[in-house]
């Protein structure tokens, strides 16, 4: 997808059958000609596996559309509303303004934007709102004195952008995408002729890149995330061959090309700290490969940063299958980095869903190349993400213990698991929203929620909510399961959401949950529990879940049963 242009995208999208794609509805508003952005994002969404329904607002009518509760943009019930604002348009308007108005231009437009967010939140509370930052457009009115002059347009655009940051902090459903990096990589990004004749502030290619950025962010919101980075070692993480050169002589550190690898490692380490799982897949003797980490003091990445370390002489495609099994995440959430084109090809052929970037030949370009791919987009972040590597390492230890016990029950008992089940509380909101966005496998209905929606559910009397935290003698899993029950009648609750992290499969968490829920529901005099299984490409593992817990199918995908008929298995969670 990296090198595809908009004409190819259009052709490919036209050929694609979208009937089985995931539906997504997008509204587009803007103060310039949005038609091309609309074409581009529709085609890109189709090619990313979505079936988009797009509502395009009338030309430069954003505020009118948003003020009218009956307008098309609200009728379309878009999940995502993208507002495109050209800095040039604002510049045009500014020339007709009084000196005072020019000096407070940013404040004025920030008020306009905030009102739009509030209007959308009122008339379509589920919509997520996306904007790009403002191009730092300089009409050179004040030259390099701009920073000291309130009337300078450039100063006002800087202020506008910093105001946007504050708005994203204030409104959780409001997101801002960065325009500057898109403009840098598409220079020349403007065609003065198209601007004049068609009111297009950016070339069609640039708008295609904007649409790519927005598509990738929508993907992240809807759970399409990269979770794991698999790394080759020799000539990828350092220069040279560890087996030939020895740990002291590989290139890493402050000298020459070593700097390129150091910078790459800094970036990888920051991804790890943000929750990306790191794995190593290298053709090496394991002991020799690890020497680089243990004996070269310039190495930034440490062995404890790596969740799964595989170094042997087997085929890399097989080794990656092993890594995937240990981590239990989808191939499409993995990225594989290797300097060797032949290895990349082998992995691509066997695992077409893994992202394998075509690394440039010169290591100096590794990092800038990888950064501009926007591979690791996220739509939420929680402090808990940092612990993930430790959790996967603990999982590897548990696996080795499992072999020692003859029965599963003995093994589970030996883990001395402790469970904590409670209603949603405010500190957990980000993690809960994130689980709804990321979990694909153990997820009954795959409904994605934002933090603001989770807060609303937590505060509503119409819902009963549960979070489950689990720990055992090896460590703390944190918050691993979320349930939302919706009261559909005084005596019936419907399972709106049931999600569990796959790291705790087969630990009896379901039975622990059911035991607690049935107590609660009995106390509340609720007799029936109903639920629905909405199949996706990834959630087959829960197809039988509702049946197993004792509900009976009443129509396609819908199950219902009495609380007293629950089937609860023995579990070992205290």
């Amino acid at each position: 997808m990296d090198t595809m242009n908009y004409m190819t995208a259009r052709k490919l999208a036209k050929k694609k059958d979208t009937s089985l794609n995931i539906p997504v509805s997008v509204g587009i508003l803007g103060n310039y000609t949005t038609h091309f952005f609309k074409d581009h994002i529709r085609n890109l969404l189709i090619l990313s596996g979505y079936n988009p329904e797009i509502h395009e607002g009338a030309y430069d009518q954003t505020d009118i559309e948003l003020l009218d509760p009956d307008s098309g943009i609200y009728k379309a019930k878009s999940e995502i509303i993208i507002i495109l604002e050209s800095a040039l348009k604002i510049a045009d308007k500014s020339y007709a303004m009084s000196t005072e108005a020019k000096a407070t231009l940013a404040d004025h437009f920030l008020e306009v934007i905030e009102r739009r967010i509030q209007l959308i939140n009122t008339h379509n509370p589920v919509a997520k709102i996306m904007m790009f930052t403002f191009e730092l457009y300089d009409d050179n009115g004040f030259g390099n004195y701009f920073s000291k002059t309130d009337q300078s347009l450039l100063r006002q655009f800087y202020l506008l952008n910093s105001g946007l940051m504050e708005l994203t902090a204030k409104y959780t459903g409001f997101f801002v995408l960065d325009i500057q990096k898109i403009l840098f990589r598409n220079n020349p990004y403007r065609d003065a002729s198209l601007l004049l004749s068609s009111d297009l502030p950016y070339t069609l290619e640039t708008q295609f890149d904007m649409a790519k950025t927005a598509t990738s962010f929508i993907g992240a919101m809807k759970g399409k995330l990269k979770k794991c980075l698999i790394l080759d070692l020799d000539n990828t993480l350092w220069g040279g061959i560890i087996g030939d050169d020895g740990p002291e002589n590989i290139q890493i550190g402050d000298l020459g090309i070593g700097k390129a690898y150091t910078r790459l490692q800094q970036w990888i380490k920051s991804l790890k700290e943000r929750g990306i799982i790191l794995a190593v897949c290298s053709k090496n003797d394991e002991q020799i490969a690890k020497e680089a980490f243990l004996k070269n003091h310039n190495m930034l990445l440490q062995l404890e940063d790596i969740a799964v370390f595989v170094a042997n002489w087997n085929n890399k495609a097989d080794n990656i299958t092993h890594i995937q099994e240990v981590l239990n995440i989808g191939f499409d959430s993995m990225v594989f980095l290797d300097d060797n084109p032949a290895e990349r090809e082998i992995v691509r052929q066997r695992h077409p869903n893994i992202t394998v970037p075509e690394l440039p030949a010169d290591p100096a370009f590794y990092l800038p190349f990888l950064q501009q791919l926007d591979l690791f987009d996220i739509a939420s972040y929680s402090e808990k993400d940092k612990d993930r590597t430790r959790q996967y390492q603990e999982e590897a230890e548990r696996r080795s213990l499992q072999i020692k016990y003859s029965s599963i029950d003995d093994y589970l008992e030996s883990l001395t698991m402790k469970g904590d089940i409670s209603a949603f509380n405010s500190q957990d909101i980000p993690r809960i929203a994130q689980l709804t966005q990321r979990s694909n496998q153990y997820n009954l209905r795959t409904i994605r929620y934002t933090e603001q929606e989770i807060t609303a559910i937590a505060n509503s009397p119409g819902y009963i909510t549960y979070t489950v935290k689990l720990s055992d003698k090896f460590g703390d899993y944190g918050l691993i399961s979320v349930l939302v029950l919706k009261l559909v009648s005084p005596e019936e609750a419907f399972i709106d959401t049931w999600i569990m992290s796959c790291r705790v499969l087969k630990r009896g968490v379901e039975d622990f949950v059911l035991e607690n829920i049935s107590k609660d529901l009995k106390r509340l005099k609720i007799r029936y529990l109903s639920g629905e299984y909405i199949p996706t490409a990834k959630n087959k593992m829960v197809a039988e879940l509702l049946l197993k817990v004792g509900l009976t199918p009443v129509e396609k995908g819908i199950f219902k049963g009495e609380i007293k008929d629950f089937v609860i298995q023995k579990h070992f969670i205290q």
């Binding site: 004409m7 259009r10 052709k11 036209k14 038609h35 091309f36 065609d191 003065a192 002729s193 198209l194 004049l196 004749s197 068609s198 297009l200 070339t203 069609l204």
Partner: protein
């Protein structure tokens, strides 16, 4: 001349997504169903990309038929 029109015809087929298009200097927008003002922008940009030329704003505004486009191209391409 015929080489230009052949290459141009391919751009028309791609932009208007119609393999049956066969243009002549007399072809006008009304002859092609999907030739509206928005697709016209794709057309101009794609011709510029394909022939590696840049038209002037007022020149594009004055085009009345394919013949005018060819004339614009001829004035820029080495003969």
């Amino acid at each position: 001349m015929s080489e230009i029109i052949e290459k141009l015809n391919q751009v028309f087929k791609d932009v208007f997504e119609d393999e049956s298009i066969s243009i002549s200097p007399e072809t006008v927008a009304a002859d092609i169903d999907t030739w509206d003002s928005l697709n016209h922008i794709y057309l101009v940009v794609e011709i510029e990309n394909e022939f590696n030329v840049k038209f002037e704003t007022s020149e594009v505004a004055q085009w009345k038929n394919v013949g005018d486009i060819i004339e614009s191209l001829n004035s820029r391409l080495p003969s």
